[in-house]
Symmetry: C2
Subunit: 77 residues, 2 copies
């Protein structure tokens, strides 16, 4: 299985969800991207269908929006 | 690791998320509960902090609300 990608923006909701997701699916199965810091990856996340963070994009391209930290628009600031 | 519990209500958003979650964390690691059919478990879900379905309750008790299918109030009908 290829990796899932977990997009977040460093918010408390994001950090909590990240810990749960990494524990559940295994650290080796997920790449973690902070689009608050790596702002050149915001567009990548949007293109994949990420509307808010935290969100997990599965290997088959589905987007799981998990809880709610911030919208992509809020991350763009 | 004890099992996570995935609560859903049979909605299309729920079914899609269920397939992703089961694939990601492994069918042996998650119990799936349809609270639209097993209505006596709605209260259990609420007590665990589930506000909407689909939702995954992790072994440590955290609730991950995944995407948005329906609120608990809508499931109660």
């Amino acid at each position: 299985m290829s990796k899932s990608v977990f997009y977040h923006a460093g918010c408390p909701v994001c950090v909590s969800a990240e810990q749960d997701v990494v524990t559940l699916i295994g650290t080796e199965n997920v790449s973690v991207v902070n689009i608050g810091e790596n702002r050149d990856r915001i567009l990548e996340a949007e293109d994949l269908g990420v509307k808010s963070v935290p969100a997990l994009v599965t290997p088959n391209g589905n987007v799981l929006h998990i809880n709610y930290g911030a919208s992509i628009e809020e991350v763009k600031g």
